[in-house]
Symmetry: C2
Subunit: 81 residues, 2 copies
């Protein structure tokens, strides 16, 4: 199956990943500090209402587009472990 | 500027974020454990050759598409801090 040809401008529009978060920022990089015992779920679909954290929006995105993106779960062992 | 209309199938194709990583997986979620003093840079553009870690691929992606995505940097304080 070859996708239909489309104008260069159209390609740019549809190949963007982020259509929602800090659109006026040149690059949306996030820094986060964790401590012992922390566990956080981070968004990688750029649709979350609680970005940079995941709010499950990837499920609707995957359903709509046939994509298979999911979050990043980072945890830090408790101090005494 | 209103993007040109296009077929539903074409929308699905172009609205996917992940066109490269574990495409046969139903959902690509990543779990990672960090310890004191760790610092890791995680990919959020789904183009990295070292996924789930960032390899700078977001720069080429942003340049090509006019997007503004960037990585997630997570750090854990050193034990004695």
């Amino acid at each position: 199956f070859a996708p239909a040809a489309h104008s260069a401008v159209e390609t740019r529009l549809f190949d963007k990943i982020n259509t929602k978060i800090d659109l006026d920022s040149p690059k949306v990089a996030t820094m986060d500090k964790l401590s012992n015992g922390d566990k956080k779920v981070y968004c990688r679909c750029w649709q979350s209402g609680t970005f940079p954290l995941c709010d499950g929006s990837h499920m609707a995105h995957n359903k709509e587009t046939g994509d298979n993106v999911g979050p990043l779960i980072v945890s830090v062992a408790k101090a005494e472990e």
